[in-house]
Every structure is written in C-alpha cells, then in structure tokens.
Amino acid sequence: MSRLLQPERPSPAAYALLVLAAVAVAVGGFEHARLFHRGYAEVDVVGPLFLLNGVASAVVIALLVLDRVALFVAGALLISVASLASILVSHSSSFFGFAEGGYDAGAKLIVIAEVAAVVLTLAGAAAAGLRPGPTRPEATA
C-alpha cells in the first residue's frame, strides 16, 4: 500500500509511454465532460458519471505529474475499463436506464481513447517494472 503513495521515477521510455496513456485518458475525460454540457447533464446517474469521469481523469493525470506512477496506472485502468464497460452495456442493454442505439462521433472518440489508454497504460506499467501484488524485493546490502 505504501508503495502506491511513493513517488517513482520510471525510465524515460516508460515515462513517455505513461504520458501517452495520460493523453489518451485526457481525451476520454475531456470528451465525457464536453458531452455532459451538451445534453447528457439531464440523464439520471449517467450524466453525473460523465462529469465524474472528467474530474477523475484530471486527478489521475495529476498523480503522474507528481510521479505517483503506480497510483496513476491503477486510476487510469479503473477509469478506462469502467468507461469501456459502461459504453458496451449502454449499447447492448441499458446502463442505469440509459440506452444508446449507435456510436456517434463522440462515442467513437471515447472508445478509441479508452482502448488506447488501457493499452498504453499496461505497456507503460510493464516498461516501468510495475507488477501487481506485494512490493518488489528490497535490495539487500
């Protein structure tokens, strides 16, 4: 747990991948926030979740600015996977009573951004040597 809160400096290559992941998260968050103001605000539950997606995306990216790499990876994956799952559910049945019949330009952009965020975050985490589970073994003196 404490490892999550520790600042880490990954290699330049890993950091570049994580920044690209952050840009993808930003595109998804920006588009969700934009759509909130363009009509989704009136949709129960889903509308506020769009705004929450934007706020959470900004917070998660700020974590990377502060070098909290593990927290960024966890947050980016949580946002992107949850967003993709929600879109799929809303197109196949309904998500909190909200159903969509197709993918308009905004939905397509969000799907592309969230998929890119997942792929780039996993790649960046792998390059940074992050593994799920207990902390890495301490170097012995």
């Binding site: 920044v19 363009r38 129960d44 990216i61 009573g97």
Partner: protein, 149 residues
C-alpha cells in the same frame, strides 16, 4: 522529462476547462419552443384524464428512460439529447409510433442520428409502444389527443 510534464499539466488544465463547461457549447436546441404555461396545464389535464392507455404509456415512458433524452414539460421530463415531445400536435399516434420504432427515418435537424436505439419494436410489445405514442399525443395535444381507454 520537463516537456512531457508540461503536456500532462496542459492535459489537466484542458479537462478542468471542459468540466467547467467553458466554450463547450450547448445541448441541441429543439426547433419548437417550449410550450406555454397554459399549454403545459392543458397537457397535464389531458394526461390525467387520458385513461389507462395514457397512464400505461406514461409508465413505460418513464421505465424505458425516455425522459433522459426527451422533454415533456407536463411531466417534468427535461432530456435534451433528443427533440422535445410535447410540441407534436400535428403528429398522429401512428406518426409517434413510427418515430419510436424507426427513429432514424426522420431525424430532427441538429440531433445525433445514431443515438436513439432502434430495437424498441423487438423489445417492447406493440401495445406498449402504442401506449407510449398515445401518451406522447396526450402530452402534445392536437387532434386525437384524448387518449382513449
């Protein structure tokens, strides 16, 4: 590293601007103005007196989440993703049925064509779709807005 950090800061700022709604535009505007207070009161009366079909239609309208996208002032539905449904006095009940089961056939300008689901005819029994259309007709007024039983 500094340049990359700058990109991250810019991304955070851009999202916060979007969250604040600055220069994000507005929801699509319905071509018809919202009904007057007198029209809304009349619609409430028609809905209340509309009989079981209108009441069933109202329940289905709510249950299907239609209010998330469409506005009907008489019921407090305030959706903005689709056109308002209480200004369709010129449409018949059959027109409203067609709009539900074939939503891509006649898309109101300014609205996303791909948003409304196209599977209502498969998922909802025909009598319930007719009830929803009858409820919309009662909300809009015009010829044949009595609702029936």
């Amino acid at each position: 590293m500094t340049a990359l950090r700058g990109i991250l800061v810019l991304a955070v700022v851009a999202i916060l601007v979007a969250v604040a709604g600055v220069a994000m535009g507005d929801a699509p505007r319905s071509p018809d103005p919202a009904p007057s207070a007198a029209d809304v009161a009349a619609a409430r009366q028609r809905i209340a007196a509309g009989g079981p079909v209108v009441q069933e239609g109202k329940r289905e309208f709510d249950a299907e989440g239609c209010a998330g996208c469409h506005a009907i002032a008489a019921t407090g539905a305030a959706g903005k993703l689709g056109p308002r449904l209480d200004t369709l006095a010129d449409d018949s009940v059959q027109d409203d049925i067609d709009n539900i089961v074939k939503p891509r056939a006649d898309v109101v300008e300014g609205y996303e064509a791909d948003l409304m689901p196209t599977d209502y005819a498969k998922r909802i029994p025909v009598d319930e779709i007719k009830a929803i259309a009858t409820f919309i007709k009662a909300a809009s007024g015009g010829k044949g807005a009595g609702g029936g039983s």
